[in-house]
Amino acid sequence: MTDSPQAAAEALDAHAREIVRWHFSPDTGTPRWIDWARDAGWDPLEEVKGFADLLRFPNFDGEILRDEPHERWIPRAYQDRPFRIFETGGTTGMPKQRISWEDYKIDYEQFSETLDDEAFPRGGYWLMIGPTGPRRLRLAIEHLANHRGSSCYFVDLDPRWVKKLIREGQGPQAKAYMEHVIDQAVQILDKREISVLFTTPRLLEALSERLSIADAGVKGVFCGGTTMDPQTTRFLVEEVLEGRVGFVPTYGNTLMGLAAHKPLTPEDKFSITYYAPQPRAVLRVVDPEDSTKLVDYDAFGRVELTTLTQEFFLPRFLERDEGVRRRPCDLYPWDGVGEVRPFGASEQKIVEGVY
């Protein structure tokens, strides 16, 4: 890990140069990007000298991940190697898909270095309660567990089905499905010795209503997938986990990998800040009206993701999230994103009428 913002920025520039060369060069490049450069009017191969030059790319249109043939995304260097196909979270209709070889392993091995061995002991058993299926997360968590000498049980939750039930007003069905998921998790916690959990805030809450997670022997919990405002985080840490279980919030997706959080201190008042796994991915908090501009520190803006790996180049993709731009910290000397929540959440919170 680089230890100063200056060094981190230089490392990022060098990495951005290298990855753009990789994807745009005829020897190693990706058909999609080589073709793109032909019509772009500029030559990324020659002209990208550092991360700032990536601002010359428009915001990546995620829609093309729904229908562009996978072959178009295979870097020449990866030809003839079978790939995995990962899909994004809970969207309905044709999902966005990304192909991958080793990225998820590299990302999660790096993430493993951020974990405290006491809360996430090496060896033993893990339990993931959440979306498995075609998602990268399921394989990534199992790899993370294996990488730390552990093995992982899985209880699946299909978020697409839950969203459909809620959209159709079938609240009782959605609730019954949640109970079905929690029943399975309780059974495993009851019969097996689990030291680490990976789940969503809602499922963690629901689980804690059935048993004491700390008393069940769990030492550490990863939690991600939905918004965790400071009050929710505090509630999870102090009450759901009874202040006795390590808590690691995570922010990630199929396109990025996994962002780590800055360990919470009392001054943070339970406000979580995530730091992208630079230089392999970069999160910027940008002005929603002009995504080339960063917002000021401590201000809300839209989250923009750039992924820079040999397998996948994704410039300036606007996530469906907003967050606060946070300053670099000792552990991660680059900008962070705080208080992540769905984009537009603030506007929905205006007036609720008389009642």
Binding site: E205, S208, Q231, T232, G353, Y355
Partner: protein, 479 residues
């Protein structure tokens, strides 16, 4: 006035949330309260232990609870009470000033509502007498006793009463207060713009000696409100039809929606309508016209034009005054969008034909006015040609009524669900028909304003019957 932090009360534990809603004065935008918000999971977690909390309350004999209510009433009206653990306190004057600044109610109406709450708390024996139909309340101490010479046995139907409160008028708090005397803890979600009154009532109860485990105060969002309604065995839900519709068929939830209260003038009194004008004015305009018990329609068999005109003339005398003016009768809209929405609804209704806005004859200018830093709607009388007109049976949050000519023998078929009906008639046959009607919750016979409340006569459900199940009981001799 300075900003105070309003905490969450968790059955005896005060909790300062990291999620805060600011409540500001409507006139100057100054933030008066930072109200901590409870997340739904926190509420659900607390309510798992509500049985234990109920036991702490039920250990107190009913006579002691009645005494606590009486003392709480005095403290509520006259005491200086804590707002939070940090030492912020609230005098009666502070309460009125804060409530007025955030809700739009003038000080006079804030004080009138406070007196109403005081009356209910100090008059709890009479209220229990009404709710329990004369049965000695000591029955609740053991669950058994006798009434009218018969053995009776009552079991608790719920360990907590959930209450999702509105912001429109502090007086509505009177409806849940007997729950504590009835040995059932309360779980309150205050209205977004009115955190003050329910908190002050709870503080008064606690200062009077109520076990802190008996009360919860959760300012929260829709999800938190839904959690309260889902988990509490019995609840009261205040809100418009969109809010209450999902619970319309849930027998555990008592719905307090729009009242659509009415004055019905009998044919026998129609020619003497002028004698009843004061009752009509009070029915429409008491409490700033903000209650569900304010008349939103007046059905008359004859003279509708004259009645509408005379009522309009009288109501047009009510104009905005400074919030602390002793003569103030009209409330400002704390939320200007609500005033704009109502104004547009009335304008659209009149523009559609079949209705005449009578008050405009006596009004200088527009209905919607800005005065003393607030948005006001001036009292409005609409003469509707038929009951089917969209404005004929619509309730708005200010002094508004329709006047409709309906033959007496058609009135009952046309009134629809009516929270309060004041029937100004001596016609026995008409009275009998009204008494038999399931559409009316509270029936006032004679020249009584719809807004007049006798507290031993509960409306919209009987809290005692909601909180207790009567059980058949038989006892063997010598057992």
């Amino acid at each position: 006035m300075s900003t105070v932090n309003v905490p969450i009360l968790r059955f005896g534990r005060e909790y300062e949330s990291l999620d805060v809603n600011e409540v500001a004065g409507y006139a100057d935008g100054a933030v008066l309260a930072r109200v901590g918000q409870a997340n739904a999971g926190l509420i659900r977690r607390d309510l798992k232990r509500v049985g234990e909390h109920a036991r702490a309350l039920r250990e107190l004999p009913i006579v002691r609870l009645i005494e606590i209510c009486r003392e709480a009433g005095e403290l509520f009206l006259n005491g200086t009470l804590p707002l939070n653990d940090a030492g912020d306190e609230q005098s009666p004057g502070d309460y009125v000033a804060a409530l007025s600044a955030t809700s739009g109610l003038p000080h006079t109406l804030c004080r009138a509502n406070a007196r109403k709450i005081h009356t209910v708390l100090t008059g709890m024996p009479g209220i229990l007498f009404g709710l329990m139909r004369g049965m000695a309340p000591q029955v609740l101490d053991s669950g058994m006793g006798s009434s009218g010479g018969l053995p009776v046995c009552y079991a608790n139907a719920a360990d907590a009463l959930g209450v999702v409160l509105p912001s429109n008028s502090p007086g509505v708090n009177s409806i849940w207060m007997p729950s504590l005397a009835l040995k059932t803890p309360v779980v309150l979600k205050p209205g977004r713009e009115e955190p003050w009154t329910p908190l002050r009532i709870l503080r008064a109860f606690l200062a009077a000696g109520l076990p802190p485990e008996a009360v919860a105060y959760y300012p929260t969002d829709h999800e938190g409100a839904a959690t309260i309604l889902e988990v509490c065995g019995r609840s009261q839900l205040f809100g418009d039809e969109n809010t209450t519709r999902p619970y319309a068929n849930d027998p555990r939830v008592e719905i307090h929606g729009p009242g659509r209260s009415k004055v019905l003038l009998g044919a026998d009194e129609a020619d003497d309508w002028e004698e009843h004008l004061d009752v009509l004015v009070a029915s429409v305009a008491d409490n700033g016209g903000r209650s569900c018990i304010n008349a939103s329609s007046i059905f008359v068999p004859a003279h509708a034009d004259e009645i509408a005109d005379a009522l309009a003339r009288r109501l047009s005398e009510i104009v905005p005054r400074a919030p602390d003016d002793e003569g103030a009768k009209l409330a400002a809209f704390a939320n200007p969008k609500m005033a704009a929405f109502i104004e547009a609804s009335i304008e659209n209704g009149v523009a559609g034909g079949g209705a005449e806005e009578v008050t405009s004859r006596y009004r200088d200018g527009e209905r919607a006015v800005e005065a003393f830093g607030g948005n006001y709607l001036l009292p409005t009388v609409v003469r509707c040609a038929s009951v089917e007109h969209p404005l004929a049976n619509t309730e708005f949050l200010f002094p508004f009524t329709s006047v409709v000519e309906v033959p007496q023998d058609e009135m009952l078929a046309r009134i629809g669900p009516t929270l309060v009906a004041s029937a100004i008639t001596r016609d026995e046959a008409f009275r009998e028909a009204l008494v038999a009607s399931p559409l009316i919750d509270r029936l006032n016979l004679g020249a009584v304003a719809t807004s007049h409340v006798e507290w031993d006569q509960p409306h919209e459900g009987n809290l005692f019957e909601a909180l207790y199940k009567r059980r058949a009981i038989q006892r063997a001799l010598d057992w």
